[in-house]
Symmetry: C2
Subunit: 255 residues, 2 copies
């Protein structure tokens, strides 16, 4: 991310749905590039949850001024990927367990909507695309790399795209990226979140046009993601929480 200040191969736009990719909240290309860079860095955990984000050094790395960095921070903050505290600057967001539950609950509601919307409306091409994707997932699942996690996330994004509902897509993307953060904090080491078989079943229900079943499957699927991956609250956010046990074992008393 150092020697390549500002390039991004048009990650948006080319959706297979009906819309013309109108860049609503785009800003200038450079601002967008900064935003993309930071967003990816956070999602890929190059920037770890809670990490400080100094405007100065980041701008320097990316070859832009603080102005653009701040702009990106603003957008990322709205999306819940960074926390912005007045006069204290920006940190990569560190969702609490409570927020994590909130995100998952909303995501369930959103994706249920996706399922209902798509049931019985999949074109042959879309159907094929989804199956191809699932096959990719299966391949990646065997090697159990980080690929697996990325792919199962993209499956859900693909579904949201196919609804042709731009807002729904945006919300699902947002929920999805926040889930990345959450799993980075609270998730088990390498549990590959989504069971591929559940994706298969879902496609089947969608193709059969069984909206109720598709919604129920999606619901159950995401529910099981929570219980499967989100059980061990390992990390602690606040310095105080981290140090509390050390203090205790050394006989120090927190104020």
């Amino acid at each position: 991310m150092a020697a390549r200040p500002l390039t991004s191969p048009a990650p948006d736009g080319s959706g297979p749905a009906r819309r013309k990719a109108e860049p609503r909240a785009a800003g200038s290309p450079r601002a967008q590039a900064v935003y993309n860079a930071l967003r990816r860095a956070i999602i890929e955990q190059a920037l770890k949850p809670g990490m400080k984000l100094p405007e100065d050094s980041i701008g320097e790395q990316l070859g832009v001024s603080r102005t653009l960095v701040r702009e990106a921070f603003g957008r990322l903050a709205v999306e819940g990927l960074v926390e912005l505290k007045p006069n204290r600057g920006a940190n990569v967001a560190y969702p609490t367990l409570e927020e994590a539950r909130d995100v998952f609950e909303v995501r369930r509601g959103l994706e249920r909507l996706v399922a209902e919307n798509l049931a019985g409306r999949l074109t042959a091409a879309q159907s094929a695309e989804l199956e191809a994707h699932v096959r990719l997932e299966e391949k990646a699942h065997e090697q159990d790399g980080p690929e697996s996690i990325r792919l199962s996330g993209e499956f859900h994004i693909k579904l949201a795209e196919m609804t042709g509902n731009a807002l729904l897509l945006r919300y699902v993307q947002e929920a999805s990226s926040r889930c990345s953060l959450i799993l980075a904090i609270y998730g088990r080491p390498h549990s590959s979140e989504c069971a591929v078989s559940e994706h298969r079943q879902l496609i089947e229900a969608l193709r059969a046009g069984d909206a109720a079943r598709a919604a129920a499957l999606m619901d159950h699927h995401l529910q099981s993601v929570v219980t499967r991956a989100l059980l061990a609250p390992r990390g602690e956010r606040d310095i105080r929480d981290v140090l509390a046990p050390y203090a205790l074992s050394e006989g120090l008393t927190p104020s």
Copy 2:
């Protein structure tokens, strides 16, 4: 909005739910104030859909520099209240009919989630608060002022607050404000969107703990808002569209 540059009586925070009102995407108080001012101006239609938003004059009016105005634009753009076109500046958003449908669809999904979440979990105090609110709505309904519209919007916000799910609340708020825009463009003159009786029924179902019925009611309620208010696409955005009929009646031929 001219002689009062930057004051706002803390519109957020004091939710009756469980959270501590942590200001995640706050920014400095002044930036927040600019954001609030613009947001309110748009929702109350002091700034009409499609209207140009020059950084310079707005900053002047609000007593801040373009920097803060731009920051506010960024946030409002993410929320879909302004459109930000590179090198062309900002306009109040002018959702297309297609986008309007998208927003309503997502909103239905979100509020169904609210209903399910709340069913059987309302405290006595919350229940009373809702009923008091409905009574207010009834009072306002008789005079049929703009109060009526605001109140029926707030009913839905109140419900979302009561879930205690901060993200859900944010999304519902966002959807709700965009609905204001949409109704300003495509809505009938003074149809007071929500039928108060439907709000009553909904409260009843929530109190009874009938999640399915509550969800169905909410679904139907919002669906009927669409058909009730969103039938006549009156307004046209582009100057050309506005003038087309005039041209025609004068025998002029648009290119």
